[in-house]
Symmetry: C2
Subunit: 518 residues, 2 copies
C-alpha cells in the first residue's frame, strides 16, 4: 500500500483557507456594523492567531472567552485551532464563584473578557481564582483599571505567513457541561468532531451555502454551535447578536435576511407580540409550523429536520447523536450516519429491542475526553465507547427513544422508575405548572418516589389527589408516595437542579454506577 | 489534552454495523430476486469476510472482481474493508491483453470471475497473465473446467465473531484509471475517502434514507460508486442490474420504486422509446428536466444537484471534487466543503483569478496513491497536494471552470491552446459529427494544431472551409492548420484515445511535465 501523504482530513483552519479561495467575496459574518467576507474573515483570524502566538499560545493551551456572543468568538475558535490550542467560551450567566471554579479548572494562558454588563462578576471571579492568565478586555479601550485592550492586542505589525498547527484530533473547543459530582467538566471537542457536527447538522437541516444563520443562542452551549458550525462548514453566513433581545432580533433578522436562528418558544412569543407594531419583514426566516401568527410572519420550512425536529445526545457527543428526522417509531430517531450507537446493560452487552439500557456512542463527533479528568475519562470511555450515562430504548425498527439520565433513575425494589415519566404525568394535571421527581432512601424498597410540585398561581390541591391522578395513568409503583409543594424549582441554566432538590428534600440512594457516583 | 480513545472515524464496516442496528429490517440491496435487509446484508458480508480470511486475505491484500454488476460487488467491498484488504472491480469490457496487464499489475491473491458472457476473455487473460491468484467462479456451480464455485467458497461452517481490521486510511477500493504513459494505474481509495465521497454526494444531491438508487452504471467506474456510496452511507437501498438493458431497467425501476439511477442520455432515449409500449410506472424516479416525453414519465427533481448537475474531478479525488450545484460563475462550481483546491503554476504558486493553471487537491476524498507506482506517486503528491494534471481557471468569485487535461495542451510559440476549446468549435459546424484536436511537432512554432474530423453521414466539406469556420469564432492561432477526415475516432472506453490519434496522425511535442511524460 502506497501512502505518499495519506488521505488528509478537513480542519477548521483548512476550511477557512478554502472558503477564502472559493467564495472570497461571500459574506462570512455579520456582527453589529461589522460585515466580513470570507477573505476578510481569514485575515482577521490570522491576525488574531498571530497575536495569540506572540502571547505564547501554542498546541494544547487553553484560551477562555468570558463574554457574550460576537463574531470574535468564531474568530477566536478558528485562531486557536490554527495554533493547535483550545477555545473555551464560558457561561457568562454564572456566579463569580462558579466562574472562579472554571478559571482554576481550565488553567487558561489567556482570557478574553467583556466589561459591559458582566465586568463586575468577571473581575470578582478573577480575584477569587488562582489563575495567572493574561487578561484581555474585549470591549472599550481597556482603559478601565489599566486593563489590556483587545484592539491593542491584535494590532500585529504585519501578517507573516504561518502554517497551521491544526490536526484533526486536536481539541479546538472546550465546553463546560455535565455537572455530575457537583462541578462541571470541560468537554474537549476536536477539529474532526466540530467539522462532522457541522456536516451532520447541515445535512439533516438541508442547509445551503446561501443560508444565513442568526447566532441568537449562547455560544457557551453546543446547541447554538451545531448551526454555527454547519454554517461555517458550508461557507454560508453567521450573524451574531450579543444577547436575546426581541427588538434587536427583529431588526437583525430583517436587515440580514436571516434564514435560520436559535429561538426558544418564549422568544418567539415575544417576537410575535413586538412585531405586531414593528412589522419587520421576517419572510427570509424558514420555520416549522408553529402558531398561526408566527407562521404568517415567516416562511414554511419543510426540511426533514423541520418535519421532525430534535433528537438526543449531549455536548460530549457533539450535541445530537440521533436525529428524529432520520425516522422510525422511536421519539428520537436514528443516529446520524458516521455515528455508532448501542444500548447496553451494566456488563456492556447489547440489551434486546425495547429494553432500557445505557446509550453508548462511538464516532467522529465524540469528544476527546474531559479536560483534566483522567480517571473519569477512563470510566466514561471503557471498552472504547463513550458512555453517555443516559438511558435509552431501541425499538424493533432500530430507532431510539431517550428515557432519562441514568443518575436520575429511581429503584423501587426491582422496579426501575424514570422521573421523567412521572414528571410528565404530573404536568398533565391542569393545576400543575412544574414538577420534579426525586428518589428518597427507603429501608424496605431501596428508594421511594417523591414529587416536588409548583402549582399554577392561586391554585391549591391535596397531595393525595395528585397521587391518585398519577395512579390513574401510570403504573402504581411509579406514583409519588410524597408530594411537596414549592414556589419554584431550583434551576441550573435551563435544567432543573436535581442535586439541589436532593439536598433540600432528602433525595439519595440512587442505583447503578451512573454519573452520580463520579 | 486527555485522549482516552481519541475521536474515532467511520469506516465502511462500522457503517454496516450501525445500519444493522439502526434499520435492521430496512432494505439494503435488491439484485434480481435477492432482497436483503441491512441485518441480512451484514450477515452475508461477514460470511464473505470469513471465507476471504480463511483464504488468507488480510490487510494490504487485493481481491479482483472480474464480472458485471451485482450486490456481491458491494458485499465484496465491505468484506475486504473488514479485513483491511482492497477490492478492485475490473472493467470487464476490456480485451484479454488489457485484463492480463491488470492481473499482473494488481497482483491479487484472489479473483472473483464471471463465466456468463465474459468467461472466455477472463480465462484468456488468466492464461496470458503470470498471476498465481486463487480464482472463484461467481456464477454457475463452478463445474466449468473444474473451477471453484462462489457458493462453495462462502459456505462457511459457522460465523465466528471477528473484529474488523478496517482503519480510516486503509485502501478499500482500487479502480484502474488514467492510462497516461500507455497503461492504467490503480487508484487506491481509503475508507475515509469512500465515506466522504458518499456523504458529499448524498448532501449535494439531497438524498434521504428512504431513497432507492439503481446501480445501472458500471461498478468499475467511480461515477456509479458516488451514488452507491451515498446510498450505503445513508442506509438507503442499492438496486443492482448486471448491465444496461432497456427492458430490464424499465422493469427494475418500476418493481423497486427506484428514486435515482445512473443513466446516460442514450439510455434515456432507449427507455422512452421502449416505454411507449411497455408503459412501466417510472414516477418514483426523480430526474432533472430533460425531454418532454421523459419528463412526463418521471418526477421532477429540483435538488441543487438537479438544477446544476455535474462538476469536475477524477477518480483520484473521489470522482467530483467540485460540484456545479455549489454555485458561482464557473462552469464547474465550487469544491465540496472538506476539499481544498488550488490552481497553481509550474512552481506550485497560486495563479491570479481568471488565469489558467493546474488544479491541485487535498482532503479526505483524495486517493492514497496508485498501487505500485512509487515514483509517480511522489511526483503527483509533491508538496503534499495531489496534482490532477488538469487545467482549470478560478473566477473572481472563487468558482472553478475545468479547461482540459494538461497533457492535451498544445503549445504554439508562446500561446497555450486547449484542444477541448478547438474541438467544441469544430463540433458547432452542422456537418461535423465528431472532432479531435492534436498537436504535431513544428520546428518554428513548437507545435501546430491538427484536427481529426468525422463528418455527418454523406456530408462533404473542404478542410479550408472548416478552418475558416474556426477562425470566425476563436483566436486565429487556435484554428487548425491541417484537417484530416476519418470515418470514426478511436475510443478508450467513453473517451477519445488521443494516444492512438497521436500515433496515427503524427502528434507529439506536448509541453510541460504533464501526464504524458509519466
Amino acid at each position: 500500500m502506497t501512502v505518499p501523504t495519506g488521505p488528509t482530513e478537513a480542519t477548521l483552519p483548512a476550511l477557512l483557507e478554502e472558503h477564502a479561495r472559493s467564495r472570497p467575496e461571500g459574506l462570512a459574518v455579520a456582527c453589529g456594523e461589522r460585515l466580513l467576507s470570507w477573505s476578510e474573515l481569514r485575515i482577521e483570524i490570522l491576525q488574531l492567531a498571530r497575536a495569540l502566538h506572540e502571547a505564547g499560545i501554542g498546541p494544547g493551551d487553553r484560551v477562555l472567552w468570558m463574554g457574550q456572543n460576537c463574531h470574535r468568538v468564531l474568530e477566536a475558535l478558528a485562531a486557536c485551532a490554527h495554533l493547535g490550542a483550545t477555545l473555551c467560551p464560558v457561561n457568562w450567566r454564572q456566579s463569580s464563584v462558579e466562574l472562579a471554579f472554571v478559571l482554576n479548572d481550565a488553567e487558561p494562558k489567556l482570557v478574553f473578557w467583556q466589561d459591559e454588563e458582566v465586568g463586575e462578576v468577571m473581575l470578582a471571579a478573577r480575584g477569587a481564582a488562582t489563575t495567572s492568565a493574561r487578561w484581555i478586555q474585549l470591549d472599550g479601550t481597556g482603559s478601565r483599571r489599566g486593563e489590556e485592550s483587545f484592539a491593542a492586542f491584535v494590532e500585529a505589525p504585519d501578517l507573516l505567513p504561518q502554517g497551521s498547527c491544526a490536526v484533526p484530533e486536536g481539541a479546538a473547543l472546550m465546553l463546560y457541561t455535565g455537572a455530575f459530582g457537583g462541578h462541571p467538566h470541560g468537554a474537549l471537542l476536536s477539529n474532526r468532531a466540530l467539522v462532522t457536527v457541522g456536516m451532520a447538522n447541515a445535512m439533516v437541516r438541508g442547509l445551503q451555502p446561501d443560508d444565513v444563520f442568526l447566532n441568537s443562542g449562547p455560544l457557551f452551549h453546543l446547541g447554538t454551535w451545531m448551526c454555527t458550525l454547519a454554517t461555517y462548514v458550508l461557507g454560508a453566513t453567521n450573524v451574531f447578536v450579543p444577547r436575546v433581545d426581541a427588538d434587536l432580533l427583529l431588526r437583525v433578522i430583517a436587515d440580514n435576511r436571516c434564514t435560520g436562528a436559535f429561538l426558544m418558544p418564549t422568544t418567539i412569543t415575544d417576537l410575535v407580540a413586538l412585531n405586531r407594531s414593528v412589522r419587520a419583514d421576517l419572510k427570509s426566516l424558514r420555520w416549522p409550523k408553529s402558531t398561526p401568527e408566527w407562521d404568517a410572519m415567516v416562511s414554511f420550512d419543510d426540511s426533514p429536520w423541520a418535519r421532525r425536529p430534535g433528537g438526543t445526545g449531549q455536548t460530549e457527543v457533539g450535541g445530537l447523536a440521533t436525529f428524529a428526522a432520520l425516522g422510525g417509531e422511536g421519539l428520537h430517531g436514528r443516529p446520524f450516519p458516521l455515528i455508532e450507537l448501542r444500548v447496553v446493560d451494566a456488563e456492556g452487552l447489547d440489551v434486546p429491542p425495547d429494553e432500557v439500557g445505557e446509550m453508548i456512542v462511538r464516532g467522529p463527533v465524540v469528544m476527546n475526553g474531559y479536560h483534566n479528568r483522567p480517571s473519569l475519562n477512563v470510566e466514561k470511555f471503557r471498552g472504547g465507547w463513550y458512555h453517555t450515562g443516559d438511558l435509552a430504548r431501541r425499538h424493533g425498527d432500530g430507532s431510539v427513544t431517550f428515557i432519562a439520565p441514568m443518575s436520575r433513575m429511581i429503584k423501587s425494589a426491582a422496579e426501575n422508575i424514570y422521573p421523567a415519566e412521572v414528571e410528565a404525568c404530573l404536568r398533565q394535571h391542569p393545576l400543575v405548572r412544574a414538577a420534579a421527581v426525586i428518589g428518597v432512601p427507603d429501608e424496605r424498597w431501596a428508594q421511594s418516589v417523591k414529587a416536588i410540585v409548583v402549582l399554577e398561581e392561586g391554585a391549591s390541591i391535596d397531595a393525595t389527589e395528585l397521587i391518585e391522578f398519577c395512579r390513574a395513568s401510570i403504573a402504581s409503583y411509579k406514583k409519588p408516595r410524597v408530594v411537596t409543594f414549592v414556589a419554584e424549582l431550583p434551576m441550573r441554566g435551563y435544567a432543573i437542579d436535581y442535586d439541589s432538590l436532593d439536598a433540600v428534600h432528602g433525595g439519595g440512594g440512587y442505583p447503578g454506577g451512573g454519573n452520580r457516583s463520579a
